[in-house]
Amino acid sequence: MIIPMASIYLDHNATTPVRPEVFDAMEPFFKDRFGNASSIHRYGQDARSAVEEARARVAGLVNGRPGEIYFTSGGTESDNLALKGVAYARRAYGRHIITTNIEHSAVLNSCGFLEREGFEVTYLPVDGHGRIDPGQVEDALTDQTILISVMHANNEIGTVQPVDEIGRIARDNGVCFHTDAVQSAGKLPIDVEAMHADLLSLSGHKIYGPKGVGAIYIRKGVEIEPTAHGGHHENDVRSGTENTVGIVGLGKAAELAALEREGEYRNLSRMRDALEARIRDEIEDVRVNGHPEWRLPGTLNASFPGAEGESLIMSLDLAGIAVSTGSACTSGAIEPSHVLLALGRDPRTALGSVRFSFGRDNTMRDVDYVMSRLPGIVSRLREVSAAQVPA
């Protein structure tokens, strides 16, 4: 990889590096403490105790009990397990699910699968800032509703949903409530009791833990059909040899996230707010996407009409600044973000959007550096496309 002079990573919502403390916690488990946590002998017992310690740490992050935490391979699997697991386990009671139209594709495409399998899904629309009103959830309930899934905070625009109220409505109506907290973990307080959450998804690599490991909180008593059947691991909720290294890393990351969250919040907000103010000041015709108040601290999604997103990203990358269009693009195809369209952006404005997401390794100087390059890049691309830039 050729690193240009500057190398500023502003894509922490896509993924984060593993923190040194997390790496140090994981390291012994590769070569020395490598046992299978389900083996009876001392290698196995040693791995088992590390797994259980990690479970307690993750439980601590969300205010659940250790026995309610199950390890998975990441946020995507947690979301799939929540949606399909509850749908299959509860289909005798009804086949209706409520969610929003700005969920992560792991939720949306699990819903799509369930629709093909005969379930009915209501996708609630959001307002111009990406928020839903708890009243919408209440109105969408039918006597067939078995599950409500509303993300805590959106990955592209950072908007935070009123999950406490939504959870309250779910609880009052005897419906399961799942929330995807992959993006909010480590940034906002997470409390499954306050949220009345029955299920909650987490992912390691968004909180300076390893990729390929995640967790799901499942409230005691909530039935679930596994998506990975096998050797009855994880209390029969998720089979497969325990990824001890990853689990230990997630545990450590969760512990640190819980400890440092408040300081992080201030730090990320300060940098994000500074960048937002300067972009609004120094670049013409900008729109900020997301809620002005109910937003993740480090997330800034902005549209620069006339400049296309991928071109902006490539140009910034050439200048040593790593950002993304919102969701990591897997198809290579250019499609306006479903989240920005849901806010009511026209498709071309949506295509001209960039997400800056700050992390613990950023400083205010990164904001200055971005602002030394971004305005020029935007006007160059606008020049290429000849978009009308108001004088």
Partner: protein, 130 residues
Amino acid sequence: MYSPAVMDHFHSPRNVGDLPDADGVGNAGNPISGNTIALYLKIAEGTVTDAKFRTFGCAASIAASSMVTEWVIGRTADEAASIENDTIAEALGGLPPTKMHCSAMAADGVRTAIEDYRSRRELNAKAPKA
């Protein structure tokens, strides 16, 4: 992801702009929700003498647009009209499969500009001499 030629043309695109006195203008792409190109050609005695473009789109679209202007200058209108989708991609040292539509758009721009040029000439030919 992209070849050095793509990165070069993206970073320093050739022939950005418009030609107010163009002999043919080609618009291609999806103006509602995708990449778009506006391609301007000057054509003298059946040969392209100048080309400019404006493109809204990804790095590959901009590079393909830039490349197509270089490719087209000096060609006859007939040659230009028979441009193949792959020509531009190859000239750029290849494109990822998911980006082939970008070179296709640039080629469409050329074909549409030549059509425009030809229909203007027909119109001129038919127009009553003043």
